[in-house]
Symmetry: C2
């Protein structure tokens, strides 16, 4: 996948067809109209149609059968390759037997923003160690991790430690106690730096997770912003329906089911 952005009209047609396929509006196995017909229907050039179809094909959403035409792929996008435990992504992947690696992209000390100072409970003027890492699964970039750690804590390990050992492990080895954390899960777009690091197009969708880790005193010891490629990772939950009539609701069944990838 290249990191150049395709022209706007092709991107628009790509997003339209993708949406119609994902939502079931165009059913699996449907034969798409020919390129000239698509060009006419959407008022665009054949080059634009071809660009949009190329992207759909590289996503695995359509299949080109020479001599027969272009078909919506029945397998499609719905099956996600890595289904995991959102609280312990890395641990879970290692338990699944996946080979993981990490690349340290940057490391340094920065001033805290007022918001981060408040979230972490910093002393006035206290600096933060900021690192950027990319996590690989089976050699493929998979997550982009920006961490901020109070300077006094960051002093306990080196840049080289961080390039080889998970941050939380370094913190716990240094005697700190990670007691609790809160995390928020959302979605965002890949900017140029993240896109290049994760081998995605600029403007691709990313699953985001922000986690703040606290020690028993209530002070923050780590602020993590993680961005995940949604085609290489997704979060899976099993739910059970509980409660009485009129107040029935979903409850996580055994919290999180873990499943391998046999695709």
């Amino acid at each position: 996948m290249s990191s150049t952005m395709e022209p706007l009209k092709a991107r628009r047609l790509y997003l339209l067809l993708r949406e119609q396929i994902l939502s079931g509006e165009i059913a699996a196995e449907t034969k798409l109209p020919s390129e000239p017909t698509l060009a006419q229907d959407h008022g665009v050039s054949r080059v634009t149609v071809r660009r949009a179809l190329d992207k759909l094909a590289s996503d695995g959403m359509i299949l080109r059968r020479p001599g027969a035409g272009t078909f919506v792929n029945a397998g499609g996008k719905a099956s996600m390759p890595v289904v995991a435990d959102f609280a312990n992504v890395l641990t879970h992947l290692v338990e699944m037997g996946r080979k993981t690696g990490v690349k340290l992209i940057s490391f340094g000390y920065v001033a805290a923003t007022p918001q981060m100072a408040e979230e972490l409970g910093l002393d006035p003027g206290e600096k933060l160690q900021r690192s950027v890492r990319v996590r690989l699964i089976d050699g493929q970039p998979f997550s982009y991790l920006v961490t901020h750690v109070p300077e006094r804590i960051g002093m306990s390990y080196s840049e080289a430690d961080l390039a080889s050992t998970p941050l939380l492990e370094l913190l716990e080895r240094s005697g700190l106690v990670a007691e609790r954390a809160n995390q928020v899960i959302g979605a965002t777009l890949a900017g140029p730096e993240v896109a290049a690091a994760l081998d995605l197009d600029i403007g691709a969708a990313l699953l985001s997770m922000t986690r703040v880790v606290f020690e028993p005193s209530g002070r923050g010891i780590e602020h993590l912003q993680a961005l995940y490629r949604p085609d290489r990772y997704s979060f899976h939950m099993d739910l059970a329906r509980t409660g009485d009539d009129g107040a029935r609701r979903w409850t996580p069944a055994d919290a999180v089911r873990t499943a391998g990838n046999d695709k």
Copy 2:
């Protein structure tokens, strides 16, 4: 927010600055370079710079202080307006006292894809009722819901019922037992139809949730694909660190914390 896509160079610059602000590379309260300087630094026109800055300002990521310049907003994007329970989004929002509404966009019967037939355990040739709805919170579009229900089940309620009552409630009222479900959370991009329905730009990031609901016999009764605006909804978990040294991991603390929005 308009649903037209801004020109590519402006979008690229917007995504670059946004990424640098979100990752802390450009700190909060930082004064941005002037428009001519940004234009020169990035090799683009001033019109392009202005478009990118307009979008950042409308996102609330930068503040223009007349006479003083343009500054990174300290409040920024990190505070999410709606923090909720991913298993019971609608119930949770109602409990928070938010006014919700629904718009039925389309309703009809379609052939099942092989994948959906397998997931739901359909009889050969069994059709599906397909509906598209938009859920509103306080009058603002918030989620885009595509549901597929086996035809024999969908017959138990009308199009008008679906426009006023949550689908699962209709199913349970008709005597069906929803016993368990599985759900997958990911991220995707808004195509033109979803963008128009949710009042977003084409290509905006969306949080996605796919849930399949099963009755005790193991057959599926509902397949839901939900797309959420990440600026109007995000998923929050509290975690506790449990287990012995060397095997410590995060466990959901009381599953999900619910928090209001006082912004």
